[in-house]
């Protein structure tokens, strides 16, 4: 009977020791995971702070970014630019015709997701109208560069009180590819 009690005690002791060994590894494992997670959370918190700063900077710069974007022709807005130029020409009283529309791809522009929208515009009207159109073309709300202008005096119709000028304008407008 006494021996049974001793065996029971030894068995209990071994059982508890086993629980301790299991507990030790479980604790060690959990502590390691905890440390890893803690490190990740700390790094994440830092990143989150940086993201918050980045977002704040982005919000501050948004107006400027929008302004920069507004001077570039968005993808798919080519037609509205052509119509804008046609309307400007018609607005000053010119007869206008778009001779050609091309997309010029230069490596340096392509690398920056940009290209040139090249328009060849033909106009007909008085000197004042052609001259006003030139001014408005240069003051377009897009980043543009006039590459070629040809203004030719035309006196075909002698009965007309005002002499006519035929104009060819080749304009490059910076456009976004995407």
């Amino acid at each position: 009977m006494k021996n049974k009690l001793l065996i029971l005690n030894i068995a209990g002791f071994l059982f508890i020791v086993c629980i301790f060994i299991f507990g030790y590894f479980s604790f060690a494992d959990n502590t390691k995971s905890l440390k890893d997670f803690n490190q990740k959370v700390l790094e994440g918190s830092k990143k989150k702070e940086q993201i918050s700063n980045l977002q704040a900077d982005f919000q501050k710069s948004k107006e400027d970014i929008d302004l920069v974007n507004s001077v570039l022709v968005p993808k798919g807005a080519e037609v509205s630019v052509i119509e804008y130029i046609e309307n400007v020409a018609k607005g000053v009283g010119l007869e206008v015709e778009i001779n050609s529309v091309n997309i010029e791809k230069i490596d340096i522009l392509t690398a920056n997701n940009l290209s040139n929208l090249v328009l060849n515009i033909k106009t007909k009207g008085s000197w004042k109208e052609v001259f006003n159109f030139l001014g408005l073309l240069e003051a377009m709300p897009y980043k543009s560069e006039i590459n070629k202008i040809s203004l030719v005096y035309s006196n075909d119709d002698k009965n007309k009180p005002i002499s006519l000028w035929e104009g060819i304008f080749v304009v490059k407008i910076l456009k976004k590819n995407e």
């Binding site: 006494k2 021996n3 009690l5 001793l6 005690n9 030894i10 209990g12 002791f13 508890i16 020791v17 629980i19 301790f20 507990g23 479980s26 604790f27 959990n30 502590t31 995971s33 905890l34 997670f37 803690n38 990740k40 959370v41 994440g44 918190s45 990143k47 989150k48 993201i51 980045l54 977002q55 982005f58 710069s61 400027d64 970014i65 920069v68 974007n69 001077v71 570039l72 522009l109 920056n112 997701n113 940009l114 001259f131 030139l134 001014g135 240069e138 980043k143 560069e145 006039i146 590459n147 070629k148 202008i149 040809s150 203004l151 030719v152 005096y153 910076l174």
Partner: protein
């Protein structure tokens, strides 16, 4: 009394004592270990709960939408910077409109301009070709000199322009920084 016992009984008694002693020792050990184990149980569950809590936080931080947001902001900043490089180039270039206006103002009634051509050579230089009819040589010389003086330019007028003395058809090129 112990000495009175026979050798066998003595040995038997010793064994019993040993057995009782070991039983007591293991009982005490078991008791202590159980108390320690019981005291560690709350820590174990706290550790587990903390691990789960941190795991949730890590998952929250690893969410793709935060990363996507950052990548998107970085992309916008990078793109805008690239665009700014293009937009800031040659921003203080003179307008063709102003140049043509100046020519138009310099021109006197004895000069009739029939053709104005503008051709861009590169980003900072261009050639403006002017053709027309001058009443006489003096008018043409005066017109060219006035342009040279006002625009601070040197214009080479082909001598062939001075072949006739009246109603001279002239043409010359002006190299500009437009």
């Amino acid at each position: 009394m112990f000495n009175v016992l026979t050798e066998d009984l003595r040995e038997d008694l010793k064994k019993k004592y040993k057995s009782r002693f070991l039983t007591l020792l293991f009982s005490i050990c078991n008791f202590i270990l159980l108390v320690v184990l019981a005291s560690l149980i709350p820590s174990y569950f706290i550790l587990k709960a903390e691990k789960v809590n941190l795991q949730i936080q890590v998952e929250e931080l690893d969410k793709n939408e935060i990363l996507d947001n950052v990548l998107n902001i970085k992309k916008v900043f990078k793109e805008t910077n690239n665009y700014l490089n293009f937009l800031s180039a040659n921003t203080d270039k003179p307008y063709i409109y102003d140049f043509v206006a100046d020519i138009s103002n310099i021109k006197n009634p004895s000069i009739q301009i029939k053709d104005i051509m503008f051709n861009r050579i590169n980003a900072t230089s261009s050639i403006v070709s002017i053709q027309g009819v001058a009443l006489n040589r003096e008018a043409l010389v005066s017109f060219v000199k006035n342009i040279e003086n006002q625009k601070k330019l040197k214009i080479d007028v082909p001598v062939s322009n001075f072949a006739k003395d009246k109603n001279i058809d002239f043409s010359f090129d002006i190299k500009t920084n437009i």
